[in-house]
């Protein structure tokens, strides 16, 4: 077994401590991270790519810079602003969408990575004027939202959760939405909203709804 030389200690990593001990400079030679000045970059950099994504059943083709984030494609190129940006650092879940059926944080995915894939956003949950989906109804009936900023992400995450686990326990719901932050409703009514949708999806009468205001 080799005994590699420990590198000099820095803050112990990068991104995770975005509020604290970030190493200000990358370490020279550490892992080959290149931080070449933009000015020195060859002309070929940033060649636009043509991508096609299907959003809520409708195909869209766009010409995008590789660095465009999926959340910006959705909000700015496609003008669908139901998907929110909260933290922009993959922590809050406000930007959650379904990518080929899997809930993901669209602030940490490049638009080019979604080429050829299908996306579901909150706008697809029900057509304007159509009856609300069970999840939307659950949030409405249980006071599952207050300002509503986290709600689209919560509902998209809950969509996959209920797909994988149609009758989750309260614990499983709380664990299941652990990547979504709500700063104002409090989680109790969000959990109830998901329980309501779970019951209705299974054809069971949802428990009587007495929203909690804490």
């Amino acid at each position: 077994m080799t005994t590699p030389q420990p590198p000099p200690k820095t803050g112990g990593g990068a991104v995770r401590d975005s509020f604290g001990d970030l190493p200000l400079l990358k370490q020279e030679g550490a892992g080959g991270w290149s931080n070449v000045a933009q000015a020195n970059k060859p002309e070929t950099i940033n060649m636009k790519k043509q991508i096609t994504v299907t959003v809520n059943g409708q195909a869209h083709t766009a010409e995008v810079e590789p660095r465009l984030l999926l959340v910006h494609l959705i909000r700015e190129n496609l003008n669908m602003t139901g998907t929110h940006i909260g933290c922009d650092t993959s922590s809050c879940g406000a930007c959650t969408i379904l990518l080929d059926g899997k809930s993901v944080k669209s602030c940490t995915i490049l638009a080019v990575q979604a080429n050829g894939k299908s996306i579901a956003t909150v706008e697809g949950m029900c057509a304007p004027g159509a009856p609300l989906s069970n999840l939307q109804e659950g949030f409405k009936e249980n006071h599952g939202l207050h300002c509503g900023f986290c709600t689209p992400g919560m509902m998209m995450r809950a969509t996959e959760l209920l797909e994988m686990n149609p009758d989750p326990t309260e614990d499983e719901i709380r664990w299941g939405i652990s990547g979504n932050l709500c700063r104002c409703t409090g989680y109790n009514n969000i959990v109830k909203a998901i329980q309501y949708a779970s019951a209705k999806n299974r054809g069971v009468e949802p428990a009587s709804t007495e929203p909690q205001f804490v």
């Binding site: 080799t2 112990g12 991104v15 370490q27 991270w33 650092t89 809930s103 490049l110």
Partner: protein
């Protein structure tokens, strides 16, 4: 936050990907789940000129058991591991660890290959791979080579992978009868990296004597750490409370944590001791279950 400009290519074969890596050398980065790489690029801690997305290369997303070896493709997502009955039947440690990695959405993207290739002692899989005595398979222009896990991590964000190599698979020996494994990390909140973490795999023979001990530690050392003295303290012994306490004490002494927002050095050493002790107990319980 927007990353600096880069070129994006999404090859559909390994050969194509490797020749792109050869062409661009240090200026290229492989993109798997992107959940370590893209945050670094958005913060401009990294500005690679070329991104080689390997997600369109088939054959890298399978979990299989062949003979006495488990093969896990580099692009297997955390969520796939979390829900793999086949894997969790033999290695309960995988259910332990994946639940503690980030959150469900991140686990839908993050891959085991990326988690290891990132070369960060704060990630959770490195310690698990040490406990399980894994081998990393790298594919490059000269073909395939096997890298024992103890030779894989070389420094902060630095691994034995060459710029033109792709981590394609992880191989893990199937556990002998009487084996149990367990992982836990102390985290301040969901999605946090470990204050300290401990991965343990043990094999006990019919008389309760320990015949295999693998112990890896998360985020308490510049490199993912094998707690060698702790392993030696268990081997050939019956796991009495005294034996386990000694092994835990060795781990607390031998790690090298740095003080940060998660705690000071003394606290982290103490937590290593507690976690190693608990995980030895848990792995031993599972070994006889």
């Amino acid at each position: 936050m927007i990353a600096a400009d880069f070129n994006y290519e999404a090859p559909t074969t390994l050969d194509e990907a490797i020749s792109l890596l050869q062409k661009y050398g240090d200026e290229a980065k492989i993109l798997s789940g992107g959940h370590s790489l893209i945050p670094m690029m958005k913060l401009r801690f990294a500005s690679p000129e070329h991104i080689i997305d390997i997600n369109n290369i088939p054959g890298l997303s399978d979990i299989s058991i062949a003979g006495d070896t488990v093969h896990i493709g580099a692009l297997v997502r955390e969520a796939q591991i979390e829900h793999s009955a086949q894997l969790n039947e033999h290695f309960p440690i995988f259910a332990d660890v994946t639940k503690l990695i980030a959150d469900p959405q991140v686990r839908n993207m993050g891959t085991i290959g990326g988690n290891l290739a990132h070369g960060d002692a704060a990630n959770d899989h490195p310690a698990v791979m040490i406990a399980l005595n894994a081998t990393v398979i790298a594919t490059g222009p000269d073909g395939v080579r096997s890298i024992p896990i103890d030779e894989f991590f070389l420094g902060f964000y630095m691994t034995a992978l060459q710029p033109d190599e792709i981590l394609t698979e992880i191989q893990i020996p199937m556990p002998a009868a009487g084996t149990g494994s367990a992982y836990h990390k102390l985290e301040r909140k969901v999605g946090d990296y470990a204050t300290a973490g401990a991965a343990v795999q043990l094999t006990l023979d019919g008389n309760g004597v320990c015949t295999y001990a693998g112990i890896g530690l998360t985020n308490v050392n510049p490199l993912p750490l094998r707690a060698e003295r702790s392993e030696a303290a268990l081997l050939g012994k019956t796991l009495t409370d005294e034996v386990i306490a000694e092994a835990a004490q060795f781990a607390a002494e031998d790690c090298n944590p740095s003080a940060d927002l998660r705690g000071d050095e003394e606290y982290k050493r103490a937590m290593v001791g507690v976690l190693v002790k608990r995980m030895i107990h848990k792995a031993a319980e599972r070994a006889v279950a």
